[in-house]
Structure formats: C-alpha cells, structure tokens
C-alpha cells in the first residue's frame, strides 16, 4: 500500500515536471504568375512540430521533432532523419531540439541541438550569427537549430554568453529548379562544408535606462559563396567569417530606439568585408504596434563575385512592421522592406483569427516588385497569396 502511494506521488511529481507543446500547420501558397523555372501556381505544405520538456531540479531536458511534407519537392522524399540540417532540401523528419540544460546559481550550461538568438533588432539582426535560416521561400524564412554548447554566466544585469558550435549548420537557400531559385545553365556540385568549429562570446548589460551588448563570433558564414569546379559545376562553399558586433535598446519617451551593428571580416580572398547596421524605432499605442527603421550596409573591401545572402540583400532598405489587435482572437499585420533606390520592394499583409483554444487561420498576401537585377526585385514574379490553418496543442 505504501509502495502504491509512493509510486502515485512520484508519478504526480513527474507529471508536474513534464510539459509539451506543438502544432500541425498546413499552408497553401498561390502564385498568380509562373516563373521562368517553375510553371507551378500553387504549393501546399504541412508541418507537424512537437516539443517536450522535462525538468529535474537543476537539470532540464528538451526534445522536439519536425515532420513535414509538401507538394513541390521542397522536402526530401527519403525518410532518413536529419541531425545537422545540411541537406539541400528540407527533411521530412528532422530533430528540432534535443538538449540538456544544467543550472547552478549564476551559471547555465546548455548542450545539444538548440536555437540560439543574439541581437535586439526585429526585422534584420546582423549579430544573430548562430541562427541560420531556411530561406527556401526567401521572404517566409524560419530559423534552424544548431548543435552547440552554450555557457551563460551572470546575474540579471550582466551576463556573458559563450557558444561553441563544433559543426556548421548552413542556411538553406532556394532550390535552383524552383521559382525562388535562380535558373543556371550548369550543374550544381556537392557543397564544400567547413570542417572546423565556430565559437562566439556576448556580453549583455541590462541597465535601468538602456540595454546593450557586445558580441564576437569566429567561424564560418552560414550563407554561401559560389565557385566553379574544374568540372565546370557550381559549388557552394562557406567562407571563414569573423564578426565584431554591438546592439542596444534605449527607451526614449515616445519611442524605443533599437540599434544593431556588426563588422564582418574574412581571411577568404573571395569574401567581402562589410558592416551591417540597423536603426529602428518602435512604439505600442493602444492596440497598435509599430516598428520602422533603416537597414544599411557598407562594404569596406569588395571581393566576392558570386554569393547568396538574403541578410545583405534586404539591407539599404526602409523596413517597417505594423500590427493591430482587433480583439482577443483577431489581428492584422503589415510588413514592408523597400530598397532605398526604389529597385525592389516587398510588402506583406496578413489577417489572423483564432477559433477556440486550438485553431488559428491566417490569410494574407505578399507583393514583390522591382528590377530583376535587384535582390528583392528578382522575385517580382513571386507575389503570392497564402492561407494557413494551424492546430496547436
């Protein structure tokens, strides 16, 4: 009897330490125009994400998976599970998170597959170096987790973050045979991934009047440059990269000013050296939320001839976000990136409505216009409408 009571108590305690969440989301994307390398006008995709958390005093464990499928061959049809996310296409089964966290006083140590976000800006974050993304659809990107060890030490006001990533997880770039990719007349060779690790450090200060941080990263760019192989094939490679960054958030009367800047250098002779910076103002008023700013780029040493970087491609732009909460269940939002030279612009509007405790529907459209020589403008045939239905649990 005592044993039964003990087991019941243990089960109860375990249940209190376990939590889970996830969703099943299906999206239809509808394009009114065909693209030179893609005659399809509609893409359907579904994503199931499940994350579980278990807490054991000072130890925490997290595990999560992504299972996905689409109608447009953006997802591999092989069911091999993926750990490092280095595949050209998305994996039907991928490990989203799998990590352990140990906390002792001011120290937190986290190891395994995890999402690591640096920086304070919202629309473009130059210092966010441990956050590769899935850019298959360029404007609808999602962050990819990395395999890393992360040590955080400090109090609320001052923290130091040390990150070691033994193996680069690259960003996923558009597929060449689909509408977001650039059609090229030559074959694509197997990519040349770096073998060395990357590491970084960030000091963050939270003060009464402002927050700021300084960061350093040494490793490789998660976005590729291209080179021609002797067999005349195009090969992706990921150049060495070093970053010196800073970010700050300063509440000033009517608005909060956020700024973020990073200087990138490289030992690779094909890689540019440049500065990316963002200055944004944000304000919430009643049911409205506004963010507006400028994302800039200054190339200090121009070397590269061929590369692919949506992060740099979205700079030299006015960036803006506005949202309005209609009521508890409904909201609308508008995002925009407009190049300062007027050669490229992307505007997205979305309406979202929740139904009960689990369902949410989102309908929206994105307009992309501009010159084919411009990073955004090159996608001027990819304006689209989308409809998403999500069941969360």
């Amino acid at each position: 009897m005592k044993l039964l009571l003990l087991l019941a108590a243990a089960a109860c305690a375990a249940a209190q330490s376990f939590s889970q969440r996830g969703f099943l989301e299906s999206t239809g994307v509808f394009y009114p125009q065909t693209a030179p390398n893609d005659s399809g006008l509609a893409v359907g995709e579904s994503l199931f994400r499940y994350e579980a958390f278990y807490k054991l005093t000072d130890l925490r464990f997290a595990a999560g998976i992504d299972a996905r499928f689409d109608t447009h061959q953006q997802t591999d049809r092989s069911l091999d599970p993926s750990w490092f996310d280095r595949t050209r296409r998305r994996q039907p089964l991928a490990v989203r998170t799998f990590n352990a966290t140990y906390t002792h006083g001011k120290l937190t140590f986290e190891a395994g597959k995890q999402l690591i976000r640096w920086g304070k800006a919202d629309i473009l974050t130059p210092t966010d170096r441990f956050a590769p993304s899935d850019f298959l659809n360029v404007v609808e990107s999602d962050f990819l987790p990395i395999t890393a060890a992360r040590l955080t030490y400090g109090t609320q006001s001052n923290t130091i973050d040390l990150v070691f990533e033994p193996r680069l997880t690259p960003s996923r770039i558009p597929l060449l045979n689909q509408r977001w990719g650039t059609p090229i007349p030559i074959a694509e060779a197997a990519p040349d991934f770096p073998g060395a690790p990357q590491y970084g450090a960030r000091w963050n200060h939270i003060g009464a009047a402002a927050e700021f941080s300084f960061s350093f990263y040494n490793g490789f760019d998660h976005l590729p440059l291209f080179r021609l192989t002797p067999a005349f094939a195009l090969q992706r490679f990921y150049p060495q990269l070093r970053m010196y960054g800073a970010d700050a958030a300063i509440p000033l009367g009517p608005v909060t000013v956020k700024s973020e800047a990073a200087y990138f250098t490289s030992t690779n002779p094909q890689s540019d050296e440049y500065v990316l910076y963002v200055l944004q103002l944000e304000r919430q008023a009643g049911e409205w939320s506004f963010v507006a700013g400028y994302a800039g780029q200054a190339v200090t040493d121009h070397r590269s001839t061929l590369g692919y970087s949506p992060i740099r491609g979205f700079t030299r732009s006015i960036v803006a976000h506005a949202s309005y909460t209609i009521d508890t269940n409904r909201s609308i939002s508008v995002d925009a990136v407009i190049h300062q030279n007027g050669q490229g612009e992307w505007v997205r509007a979305q309406y979202t409505q929740a139904f009960g405790q689990h369902w949410r529907a989102t309908a929206g459209f994105a307009i992309i216009r501009g010159n084919a020589a411009d990073f955004i403008g090159q996608y001027n045939r990819n304006s689209h409408a989308l409809l998403t239905l999500r069941y969360s649990f």
Partner: protein
C-alpha cells in the same frame, strides 16, 4: 476604560490617514512568495468569451517584488512569459519572452498601457508599486459588496511613469483588502478592477477573483486564482531574463 478610549481614539486617527491605510493594507498582504494558477475569462463587448490560463510566481512583496507570469493555454501561446521586476522608487522593468521566435523583448514604459495578451489588464496593471510612489487623499467611506470601505484617491508622483492620471481605491475596513480600483485618464474612468471571493489563505486575506473591466472597449476579464499558496520555496535566479528562456 480610559486606556481603551485612548486606543480607540488613536486607531480612529490612524485610520483617517490614507497613506497609513494603504501601508497597512500592503503590510497585511506581505509574504515571502506567492504562487497560483490563474484561469482567465475574457468577455468581449459583443459577449463572445475566450479563456486563457497562466501560472504566476512572485518572490518578495510590495515595492520590491519579482514576478513571472507564464501562459499555459491556449495552446498557441503556451510558454509565453512576462517577467516583472518591481522597484521601490520607480516603475517596474518588464520583459516578455516569446518561445516561437526565441527572443525576449523589454516592454518600454511608454508601451505599458497596451493590453496584456488580449486580456483587459494592461502591462502596467500587472506591476506592484510601493506607497512611496503615490500621493493619497481620503475621499470618504463607501461600501463595496456591502462591506464598509475607505475610499482613497491616489496620484502617481512621477506622472510620466503611469498611464493613469489618478486612481480611486476602496479598502475594506474589516480586513484591509483592496476591494476595488477605478483608474482614470484625466477625468475619464477607463478601467475598473473589482475584487471578490475574499478568503483567508495561510493567514493572508486574499481576493481570489479579480474582474478587470475596460470601460472604453466595454470588455472585461475575470481572473480566478487556483492552487494559491504563499511562502512557497522560490529561487531568486528564477526571476531573470535568462530564466525566462531556460524555463520555456
């Protein structure tokens, strides 16, 4: 007899000082920590209702406390959390953690009038302020739900730190529980917080149901506190921005 009379007179004078009434109310509500599970019912102007729930943890008491509110339902906001660090001499600091994007965001002072995640509580309504941050004036006596109360006007000393120009609060004479707040912007009554289901929990008189009405939107939110407990063991390092991410 004369001693009893002296005590009565002293109590009477003491009770007429609005600042001391509020101080006494806060003193009686003091605990080392508090934990509860909140069930929220949001009722829109058209009568449509939606429900949410959160877990609330608080360390310390009025003026210098730290609190974390973490949503548990609906499913799509599960894990969203708010950290509130209250200060004795100024407005609180607040950060919100959104697990879907893996980012924390500081809620600037000028943004505190915004509704908190679709409820009728604003971010400012979730902070606790020390008596030293207000000037008080006794307006008289006025019963709430049949219980005799002192009606007190409070005005923030640093006007820029609050969306409200002034508040009226009703403090019950029998147990010093704040039974109602009315918050004004200029002369307009904008929010009313009504406390009900007042119970003695571990020696502390506590309103277990709070109803916040937004009189401009004509909507209201009812918060019911379940599994309420005081003086539970909580660690200081659970109330940091780092902990928001860690405890997702």
């Amino acid at each position: 007899m004369s001693r009893s009379l002296l005590v009565l007179v002293t109590l009477s004078l003491y009770a007429q000082d609005p600042r001391q009434i509020v101080e006494e109310s806060q003193r009686r509500g003091r605990s080392n920590s508090q934990r509860y599970e909140g069930v929220l019912e949001v009722i829109a102007a058209d009568g449509k209702t939606s429900s949410k729930s959160w877990q609330s943890f608080r360390l310390g008491s009025y003026g210098n406390s730290k609190a974390v509110i973490r949503f548990t339902t609906p499913a799509e906001v599960k894990g969203v959390a708010l950290l509130v660090l209250n200060h004795p001499d100024r407005a609180s600091d607040q950060w919100m953690w959104t697990p879907a994007i893996g980012r924390d965001r500081r809620i600037a002072l000028q943004d505190r009038s915004t509704r908190f995640f679709g409820t009728d509580f604003s971010f400012e309504d979730l902070e606790e302020r020390d008596v030293d941050q207000y000037d008080f004036r006794l307006l008289g006596e006025d019963p709430i739900d049949g219980a005799p109360c002192w009606r007190i006007e409070s005005r923030p000393r640093q006007t820029k730190t609050s969306q409200y120009t002034l508040s009226h609060l009703w403090i019950r004479k029998d147990n010093y529980v704040a039974a109602q707040y009315e918050n004004f912007i200029k002369d307009q009554l904008v929010r009313r917080l009504h406390a009900a289901d007042i119970q003695n929990v571990q020696g502390i008189w506590t309103a277990r149901t709070l109803e916040m009405a937004d009189l401009r939107r004509k909507s209201r939110t009812i918060l019911r506190m379940q599994k309420l407990a005081y003086n539970v063991p909580l660690k200081d390092d659970e109330f940091t921005v780092q902990a928001l991410r860690r405890e997702q």
